[in-house]
Symmetry: C2
Subunit: 245 residues, 2 copies
């Protein structure tokens, strides 16, 4: 069943007005008619199953026929910090990270970042938010991950309980235990922040800075993962270690 | 450093001839000149660092200046079975699965598969092999994963030590331990085979058939993962559970 984020309280009925994104998708793309059903997430993260009782060109009226709670969010709040990525790699990174349960994505320009979004930043952000929303609906999540563009310094000062840096050199040195240790020890509902370098990697200076700000170095296994693959590996690791036992 | 698969024994020197793929990439794309270096993997999976001693339009002559062994392959041989996927999703699935260490990818048409490659199968296979090779070079792996198109019946009879099916219904029933159990118990160097359904999911009949052929049902956590994301989650899980301790 299609899921929509209403971001409002829901009681017995839902009214969708023309012009609204959900009206457009449910009414025009899915051609909702009397009897059509969909799921709506309220601002209190409850799920309401709604059934269409009337449709016209201006309004879709929906009755709530069921309500339930579903625990599909990761037990820790994961913030992923990545460099802007080339071509459509940012798009699908956002889609996949959202499916895998990310809470917040921070794009930060790093020393070896080669992509410059300066002028298109607002357009990019709008696009990325749409991708995250569609992916969250598709994965049947309760929240849409937030996406931010921060400076390196703002990122360093972002709130976190535990921070790690995925660093290739750590992997090369055979560091294999930090990711598991950090993921296993972060308390539920706390923020787990993971920083990934751009294609060319983080500089030593950047890694030093991150360590001063409380980030630990972690290896992600012996193979070299691309900038957009390493965060997906990490998201999967967090799910395996926190949800599959 | 760029890595190439030579698939031949290497002793003291390497000669690349015009027309050869490696000649084209190293010579023309990377414009190798005297002193340029690259890594070459021999048929015995040893890595040789080579330095160019002469280049002309017909031949690149390379001297071996170093040799080493590197253990970057997953300790178990993972075979992923997936349905043909829409648009470019197959392409990037192959790239990511290769980075994450897959040994073999089997494409099989399933009951709810909507993509039909019948006529383009040879072209697709050629393209997929190139993607796998480039990703294996980039990830600094020692082998290029093999890619096969098999019928459902051929797939069921493929060799394996342990087989699991990622099934959404298992996840919905709260099954959370089979993946970890199966990954932890498969002996090193044995074949671990994982079957994933198409976008619409596997049918009950298909799941029954897989169980008769020795596959166990496994859930991949509470969120709904797309057909191409679930295998990447599984590959990451295998690495975390077998390589990160």
């Amino acid at each position: 069943m299609q899921r929509y984020f209403l971001n409002k309280p829901i009681i017995d009925t839902i009214k969708l007005k023309a012009g609204n994104d959900i009206f457009n998708h449910f009414g025009k793309v899915l051609r909702a008619k009397v009897g059509s059903k969909a799921e709506f997430v309220s601002d209190s993260l409850e799920i309401f199953v709604g059934e269409v009782v009337s449709v016209d060109s201006e309004t879709i009226n929906i009755n709530v026929i069921n309500q339930y709670h579903s625990d599909v969010e990761l037990p820790v709040q994961v913030t992923l910090v990545v460099s802007p990525l080339k071509n459509d790699r940012s798009d699908w990174f956002i889609q996949k990270a959202t499916e895998l349960g990310v809470n917040k994505i921070i794009f930060t320009s790093m020393k070896r970042t080669v992509v410059d979004w300066q002028k298109q930043q607002d357009k990019k952000l709008k696009r990325f938010k749409k991708i995250a929303q569609a992916a969250a609906e598709q994965a049947h999540r309760l929240i849409i991950p937030s996406i931010e563009f921060l400076t390196w310094q703002e990122m360093l000062l972002s709130p976190k309980h535990t921070g790690i840096v995925a660093w290739e050199e750590s992997a090369r040195d055979g560091e294999t235990s930090m990711l598991i240790k950090a993921v296993s020890e972060v308390p539920s509902d706390e923020i787990f922040m993971v920083v990934f370098g751009p294609e060319g990697g983080l500089t030593e200076t950047e890694v030093d800075k991150l360590q001063i700000h409380g980030f630990s170095l972690a290896g992600l296994g012996p193979r070299i993962l691309r900038a957009e693959t390493a965060p997906l590996y990490t998201m999967s690791a967090i799910s395996v270690l926190r949800e599959l036992r």
